[in-house]
Amino acid sequence: MNGIFVYSEDIAVTKQLLNIGRSLADVLQVNVTALALNETETDTAGLIACGAEKVIALSGSNPWVESYAESIAECIAKENPLLVLIGGTMRGKDVAARIAAWHSHGLVNSAMSIEVVERKLETKRMLYGGLAVCKEELSEGCIVTIDPRTYEEAAADPLRNGDVVACTAQSNDAVLVGGVCPIVRERADLANAEKIICVGRGLSSQSDMKLVEDLAEKIGAEIGCSRSIAEDYHWLPTESYIGLSGQKVKPQLYLSIGISGQVQHIVGARDARVIVAIDKNEKAPIFSAADYGIVGDLYEIVPKLIEKLGK
């Protein structure tokens, strides 16, 4: 077994994988192969500049990337890499799990880090919703998915050389894709926000969002939420929810209003510099994750905050 294999259906993510993939390969003194699916020649060549010795340029006529899992698995089997890095998007995880099954390999999803320790590869990932971190030594051929933006894109060096091998991919057309509808991004990017106010089920109705918006405006914050607010109540778009299955954020200030602070939520916010919580339940777990907190009814606290900040 040799080499590191990287793939994502999103070429920006492939470049992020090449960043970490290249540095692991340098330590292990092995080559990096990147797979590009239906990318232009320029984009494919860009992957060489970002650190791949070889690029497999797959092309096929089915626009649904999941339909190429078998083809990607075949490419991986031919290369027989000791590590496969796949971009941890939802589509990436779908493909990764099936490849892992066909090849009888391990799969670590959403690794937070990956490094070489005594010539063995080790990853860290969350367990129990973020309560714990699990460190594991990878078996050979293991697949690891890494969430987008975990690493920066590799710097392009146009002087790098490598081979581009073009292949035609065979899609599996068992799943028929009808309508595809993009979800329009309605809010600013929370990932880069300085201040975030996060609302949870403590808010009794959608019309009370106004209260939160007023406070956000006062302190110059973006608005995020817990999963239920986005997925059950639909008061805010999906990309606004923070946590294990949502966004990870690292603002200077994270202020929660009516969020109990279950670990699956707080795991997305605990890189914030300062965490502030407002909740009426003194025992809510959010308070043990907070720097500052007010135990009280948000309908009394928030208007008072707005009033005092106005002065």
Partner: protein, 259 residues
């Protein structure tokens, strides 16, 4: 038409304590529960059966001896029969082993048109068992589904994939993994709970299943599991008037340079 709802019996993470200093996990007080999103999985299967009386729903789990208590809970939610692969191997199983075991169990059961999984389990959140089983059975999978409709040997499903939604159609048999938004799990009533004890449970041991030894050994070596150390100031204002509490908070945030 047979739907198999797969659920995992997990420790409730809210009962797990982190031992200060060593950061080891103290699970001695942790109770078990059906993995949060798997309640939605069972519910969705049962909703399908309620719409169409040719649909039969069974539940399948792979767990240790303690998972016995889960079957009553699962069956009180509507499935007509439970399948339980009862083996201590579940304690250290990874996605590779779990998928191999569930696949072997499904082959033994024989009756499956649609196999439903959660998007991820609450303890491991490995996000892989569903599509792995599909790959092993050689049938199609549709992941991250928020809506499904079965008709004439087909499933129409709506997926939610980050920044877009997709409508897809697939022939049965197939595997579907569900996002929790698909439905709200019911709270079983007393009658359902009592009725559950009368429903049949078929138990397997690993040895009853067609599995080679290497397919029951986890792939990676766990080096450590450590609690995440939360290091925060924990200045919580509990007493005083609203005015006082808000003033104190504003003072603290000003000191932090945040206002």
């Amino acid at each position: 038409m047979d739907i198999v709802a797969c659920y995992k019996w997990v420790l409730d993470e809210q009962d797990i304590k982190i031992v200060p200093g060593s950061l080891l996990l103290d699970t001695s007080r942790a109770k078990g529960k059906i993995s949060d999103y798997d309640k939605n999985v069972i519910e969705e299967a049962v909703l399908q059966a309620e719409k169409d009386d040719t649909v039969t729903v069974t539940a399948l789990t792979f767990g240790n001896a303690k998972a016995k208590q889960s079957l009553k809970d699962a069956l009180s939610r509507g499935p007509v029969k439970g399948y339980w692969v009862n083996d201590a191997a579940a304690d250290i199983a990874d996605g590779f082993v779990t998928a191999n075991v569930l696949t072997a169990a499904l082959k033994k059961i024989g009756a499956y048109d649609l196999i439903l999984f959660g998007e991820g389990s609450s303890d491991a959140y490995g996000q892989q068992v569903g599509p792995r089983v599909a790959a092993l059975l050689g049938i199609p999978v549709v992941t991250f589904v928020t809506k499904l409709e079965i008709s004439e040997g087909k499933v129409m499903a709506a997926r939610k994939i980050g920044d877009c939604t997709e409508d897809v159609t697939v022939n049965l048999p197939a595997v579907i993994t569900l996002l929790p938004e698909v439905c709200k799990p019911r709270i079983p009533g007393l009658k359902q709970v009592l009725g559950a004890s009368k429903k049949p449970v078929q138990e397997f041991k690993l040895a009853d299943l067609d599995l080679v030894a290497e397919n029951t050994l986890p792939k990676n070596k766990i080096k450590s599991i450590q609690g995440y150390a939360m290091d925060r100031k924990n200045e919580i204002y509990t007493d005083g008037t609203v005015d006082e509490k808000v003033n104190t908070l504003i003072a603290s945030l000003t000191k932090e340079g945040l206002l």
